[in-house]
Symmetry: C2
Subunit: 253 residues, 2 copies
DNA sequence: CACTACAGTGAACGCCGTTCACAGTCAAAC
DNA sequence: GTTTGACTGTGAACGGCGTTCACTGTAGTG
């Protein structure tokens, strides 16, 4: 009776109505169990509200329970644990990304539009990117997003494997970017004018024999230039893709 | 008496010997306060040991204190709080990156070598990348790393601002990559053959009208291909940089 | 009407980071 | 050589966290 537990995620069935499916599959959440005051949906909605109001760190089971007028343990009737709550919250956020693409645009324009939409949504929910980075939700909205990116890349003439790799690269760029978002410690530091000036002074005062380049152009690195960094970074990636696999090339190896 | 607290990092002076310098400046840690059993250095070393043995999540002040044969509160004589401990640990890790570069290599080869070294060190300390991503240590070793990258990029003929942006892009790629490292949930899932097969089946079974591309080439996205993803991603970025600012171009605008 | 499935309760367990009055000890000052 | 003072480590506590579990009451089913 040793049933094959598949690696990593364990004990994922019980509060879930989904039987033996892995934790990271999020069921369509139909009209299951809405007989009582609490619903999985309501739990997730209020979790999102807490994050929106006080950031992702403020999302504790206890705070969430209090907000729902309920005792902490009650949440565990609707959510397996905090990790699954994170998964659900994530898919809720990704639902806000508009994945429709205008087919008359260049594939580069398509990717750019998608990327900016995703970035906007992620930065609208401070701290959320941190959850995404170590997780592939595989919920419906996450899948829709991947589909949109892959469709554009594939339509650009990239062979399947390259399209997959390109998606990983672009997706990683966006996530990594949103991750130290405007609310991160780094950006706070650099945004504050006084601190930034202090930082530049610090850089200029470094021993020039050990850090010649930093002394010379360090002020170009730590700048409040999120938009520029995001855009030119994305452009560089796309440009690299374009020149490596020129458009409308046939899909031969 | 309202003294100007500058944003984000607060109250950073007391256990530090550094007077009014900001938290994220890490002093050379000379022979300060080694009269007793505990040293800041010893604290950091054992913290690193805990991370090496049990991962970054296992690093708690209490566990660290126990390991040092000391009561938890004692740590606060040598470290301001857990965040500063993280900063110190980070710089300790970055010290392991060899930042010397062979000047006879192409700038692309130089960057590639540096990138692979950084990735290796980060993946050797599971979970560390997660600390780095929301933090710019500005410790000596972090600076040395930035110096190395910037020197190569600058030597390639990139104008200052573009070099800074390129560094951010490359650094972000490496960090983002190490972040969902081999120990992350994602990779565990995909590494397990049975789970991966299950995942591919899941992808193939998706409704083809809503996810045509995913069904067709989804198996190319979630693959155990970390090396390939890292390398071709980096290549794409470097290629993009190369074709955007061709080598040995003069630095005019 | 009896039964049962189950949502929510209340209390506890064992973690966590951090604070603080206090004790012991060593080095400098007299 | 004694006093003084600075400072490291102690012990105990505070408030918070995620999670578990025996229980209660109610709502729907037979």
């Amino acid at each position: 009776m040793v049933q094959p537990r598949q690696g990593g995620t364990e004990g994922a069935e019980s509060a879930d109505g989904a039987g033996s499916r892995p934790l990271w599959f999020i069921p369509p959440a139909g009209q299951e169990a809405q007989r009582r005051v609490l619903t999985r949906e309501r739990v997730v909605v209020e979790a999102l509200a807490i994050i929106a109001e006080h950031g992702v760190d403020a999302l504790s089971m206890r705070a969430l329970a209090t907000r729902l007028g309920v005792v902490p343990g009650a949440l565990y009737r609707h959510v397996l644990n905090k990790e699954q709550l994170h998964d659900l919250v994530l898919d809720g956020v990704l639902a806000e990304v508009d994945t429709r693409i205008e087919k008359r645009l260049t594939w580069i324009e398509q990717i750019t539009v998608l990327a900016h939409r995703l970035r906007a949504v992620l930065e609208a929910h401070p701290g959320i990117a941190g959850l995404l980075k170590t997780r592939d939700p595989l919920g419906p909205h996450s899948l829709a997003l991947a589909e949109a990116f892959l469709a554009s890349l594939s339509g650009a003439g990239l062979p399947p494997r390259q399209a997959g790799l390109a998606y990983s690269l672009i997706y990683g760029h966006i996530l990594g970017f949103a991750l130290d978002g405007p609310s991160s410690v780094n950006e706070q530091r650099v945004r504050d004018t006084a601190t930034r000036a202090e930082l530049h002074t610090f850089l200029r005062a470094l021993p020039p024999d050990r850090f010649p380049t930093l002394v010379a152009l360090g002020e170009h690195v730590w700048v409040d230039n999120r938009d520029e960094r995001f855009t030119t970074g994305l452009d560089t990636i796309l440009h690299g893709l374009e020149t490596t696999w020129p458009p409308t090339g046939d899909a031969a190896a």
